[in-house]
Structure formats: C-alpha cells, structure tokens
C-alpha cells in the first residue's frame, strides 16, 4: 500500500467510479434492502450518465431499484421483492414498468437470490435449497431461452434434482450462481487500505461483493486502516475485492444507514406520490436527479434541517422519535 491516502488508487469521485465500472448492458447487483443502505448516490449518478440496458440482480430492493427503473436504465431484473416496506408495498415505477412490459422480470425468493450470490461468491455452479418446490417460482421462467442465450445467462432458470444420495430427502432445487459485472454498495466505513466495515445487518452485500467482477463502495467515512485492523472480526470485506471507494456522507439517502441516519419518511412519501403519475415523476427526476450536478448539490437540496432530523442515535442506530407517518 504505497499510497494509503489514495487507497491504492481506488479513491475516486462518484462520476469517475460510475463511468469506470458501470457499462451499458452490465449485470448490476444492488446492495442494501428495501429502505436500508441502498447505494443511492451511485444510482442517481448512473441515471445522470444515462447508462442503459442494465440487468439488475437483487434479493429485496426498494428505492435504488425504483429510481433506476424509473429513469429508464433497466432492461431486465432478477429479483425477489421490489418494495419499500410501508413506504411502498410495491415500488410504483417498478410495478408500472413490469405492467407496461418495459422491463422483463424473472422471480426468485429472498433466500434463493441470496443463495445464488453465495454460489457466485464460492465460485460453484449452483446452490441447493428446498425452498420453492412445486411453486411457480420454480415452474415459470421469466426469461425466454433466446434471451438466456443472447444475454449469456445459465441455460435454465434452475434445476430440480432428485436426492442424489438415494435417501429420503426428495427433490432439491439447484439455483444457478450469479456473477454480476459490478456490485454497488454503501458502507459505514472504509479504511485507507480499502478494508470495508458494515455496521448493522449486512443483508447479502458481502456475498454480492465476492460474487461480482468489480465492487464499487460509497461510504460515510474513510478511516485509518489501523482503526479497522484493531478488530478484524468486525470487518466485512478485504481491500483486494474493492475496485472503487467513494467517500460520500449520506450517500444512502433517502434510505437509512444504521448508526448514521434513518430513512427520510418525507422524501419517501413525496417520491411515492410523484411516482404514481408519469408527468409528476418526470418532474421529480428532473428536480432530484438530472438537474443536480453532484452529491453535494443533492444534499444541499435536501437541506441541513432534514439531515439533522434523520440523524441516528449512535447507540440505537436510528432517529429516535422521528415522525415517520
């Protein structure tokens, strides 16, 4: 590590990280879960750079998925759940895009998608599960055989295998590995050597990063490596898996970042309202994405008062007493 302050050349701007590591047509894994630790700044930048034809892979994702779909960057999705919890039981632009045939979806469950990332992380062709036997998740393909061939996807959505040990186990579902072109994630801390620390739930972020061909991390803080190496048990990813580090406070806004800030209920409610109408949504995108030069300008638009309001209690991890209606 000849230049720790540059994180070995991996420290870069949001603009450069997206331009370098996210290409038209890429398979992109979205970190986080519904309204928590979504890589929102990266998503806004992808929309600003108009990178299209993306193939999204995620277990449960909410806001990042919906903005990418809404901005027209997405062609295909493999997913278990597109929603924002109480703030949008089904993400609105996601729903509209599927109903209009603007995106093609192939459905899995949360555990199935997480296991597919694990298979990629372990570099094995598949993972077995008993989940989904005799359901339409197993019976119905979302992608046609032609699409599978053209997009270099596994030849089958999944395989149902009888117990190969000749025992009493019955059928098992084999889920093909995912190896995304790039994993996008947001972490609380990155060391100046590139070590990543995530606090709170990690969801499948770690498996996604290990499965991916490139990993881009935004973070709340860059800290001295020695601070993170004092307790290696708590670290999530080693430096050698990380390709780009973009230090950006509040880069998950309006989703939450445990111990740093809560989700922004007002922003999420306004988003949902705008998403319901095509015209209103275009205006929303113009106001919050296209006409915003960078993350600093975005935060200025959100405003200090709002950012203070969602600031997390450093012990509990969320904004105690926040008005969440």
């Amino acid at each position: 590590m000849s230049e720790p302050e540059q994180i070995g050349g991996k420290l870069m701007s949001l603009e450069r990280a997206v331009r370098t590591f996210v290409k038209r047509g890429d398979q992109v894994a979205l970190g986080g879960f519904t309204i928590s630790r979504n890589p929102m700044a990266l998503v806004y930048e992808i929309a600003r750079q108009s990178i299209g034809d993306l193939h999204l892979v995620a277990h449960s994702n909410g806001q990042a998925l919906d903005v990418l779909v809404g901005a027209g960057c997405v062609r295909r999705i493999e997913i278990a759940y597109g929603g924002n919890g109480r703030f949008a039981p089904t993400c609105v632009r996601f729903r509209k895009a599927v109903e209009r045939g603007a995106v093609v979806v192939e459905d899995y469950s949360n555990y199935q998608m997480a296991l597919r990332f694990l298979a990629g992380a372990l570099n094995v062709p598949f993972m077995p599960t008993k989940s989904g036997l005799h359901t339409d998740l197993v019976r119905l393909d979302g992608f046609s055989p032609e699409l599978r061939r053209v997009a270099a996807l596994p030849a089958k959505k999944l395989v149902v295998l009888p117990d190969p040990f000749d025992g009493e186990e019955g059928d098992v579902v084999l889920l093909p590995a995912l190896k995304p072109d790039v994993a996008l994630m947001h972490a609380q801390q990155v060391g100046d050597d590139g070590t990543v620390r995530i606090k709170g739930l990690t969801f499948a972020d770690i498996e996604q990063a290990k499965a991916a061909k490139a990993v881009v991390v935004t973070c709340e803080q860059v800290v001295p490596a020695a601070d993170l190496r004092r307790d290696p048990d708590q670290n999530a990813l080693p430096p050698f898996l990380i390709d780009a580090v973009v230090p950006l406070p509040f880069a998950a806004h309006p989703t939450a970042c445990h111990l740093f800030y809560d989700y922004d209920p007002q922003h999420l409610n306004e988003y949902r309202a705008a998403a319901r109408d095509d015209g209103a949504y275009e205006s929303w995108l113009r106001e919050w994405v296209y006409s915003v030069a960078d993350h600093d300008e975005y935060l200025a638009k959100v405003g200090d008062e709002r950012l203070q309001r969602i600031k997390a209690d450093p012990v509990r991890g969320y904004a105690v007493g926040l008005d969440r209606r």
Partner: protein
Amino acid sequence: MSKPTTTGSAPTAFTPREMMAIAAGRFIADGDIVFAGTGVALLAAGCAKRVQAPGAVIFFETGGIDPTLDEIPLAVADSRVMDGACINAGIIEAFSYVSNPRLHTIAFLGAAQIDRYGNLNSTCIGDYHHPTVRFSGSGGACDAGSLAAGFIVFMEHSPRKFVEKLDYLTTPGWLEGGESRRAAGFARGGPIAVVTDLCVLRFDETTKEMYLAERYPGVSDDDVVANTGFALDVSRAVEALPPTAEELRILRDEVDPQRLILG
C-alpha cells in the same frame, strides 16, 4: 356486502385490525421463533410475546433477531430490527434458522391471493409474462412457506383474494391438499390458519382444505361465504373470543403506542 368496522361497546370496542392482531397472536406458543414481517404481523407477534409467550423470539428475515422493538419498524430492513438484537445475522444465516429442524419457527405472511389449500400469490395478477397487476414478489414468503414449521396468513377477506385458482403460486401451502406437500419434498410446515378481517380459517387435517373455524363477533357464516371465492365448509365454525380488555391494552399501549400500524 358490508363488513363490520368496529365491534362491541366501550371500553372493549375494537377494530377488525385489532381483532386480527390478537387472534393471530394467540397461535404463538412460548419458545416459538416468530417470523414477523411488518404491519399487523408485528402487532400479532408483539401481543403474543406480552400475553402468553414471553419466551417467543421475534425474528426478521433480514437477520435481526429478538431486537428491543422500542419503536415499530416499518420495513424488515429498518434499523429498529437491529437495535438490541441478540444477533445481527446475514440473510442466508437468517433463513438457516427458519429451516433449522430444532427450531419451531412460525411465520406470519400476507398475500394478494390465497386458494383453498392455503397456497399464496404475492407476485402478479394475469399472465406472468404480461401481468395486469404486478406486486412486490415473494420476498421471503416462499422461503418461510417452504421451510418454517408452519405459517399463518393475514388476508383482507374478499372474493378477489380468496380465489379458486391463483394467478401465480408464490408460496407453497398444502399444494393440492392431502399428502401432496410432503410428496413434493417438504419435510414440514404448511399453513396453520388464515386470519382475516372477518374470521379465522383453518385447514382440515386430512384433506388440507380450508374451513371456517372462528367468526368474529358480529360476523355471520354468510358474511364469510359471500366474501370467499370458493366453496367453504362452515359446519365447524364457532364464535371467536373477542379481545380481552388486557389484550387491547397491551396492543394499544405497549405494542403500537404511536398507532403507526393500528392507524
């Protein structure tokens, strides 16, 4: 047909949502691991833990296990499922607990459609490739339905939702009834009950067909039948115990004092 909105007289008047939370919570035994989700499921879990199952563990599929829940989470990834938990697990780890045969995990699930065998649809209406309505998708519902020791379904009771045939089978219930679930390769699990805004439905031990088990006070057999899109056995129905004053106090004052879910 019309549905009752509030039943009984003060101080034990209650809403259908309150009745649902309390009726569902009664299915939880001490020591159960409760796959809770959000919304009314979380109210049910919170009631159960404070009424009859203090040793039950409230569990989120995201990996937050037994958090303080000093505030109600509005999504399963909310920081409020992490605070004070015994462990913050990954998703794979979380589902490994759901699947663990040592643990009696009971899941609360919702859905857009249910059929007579308790199979659930939370994916779409219409043809899968050209849906007229798209929902969120399985999330962890298929996993919990496949792997947990059992599950309980929350449904709004309407003929659009209680259907002869699902548009998409997201979550395995009793499949085609009888022994078909075991034959498919599931070692355990299956739907235990369906809790609606009108009643509690259960499944016949042999055929695994849904039947009316408990009508809420003020609800008739006909109310239920009219809101169910398939033939329903009502011969075993009794009236549900209304919420006790203590159950209502716990639900309102302790579980959701901000009325974020109770509304």
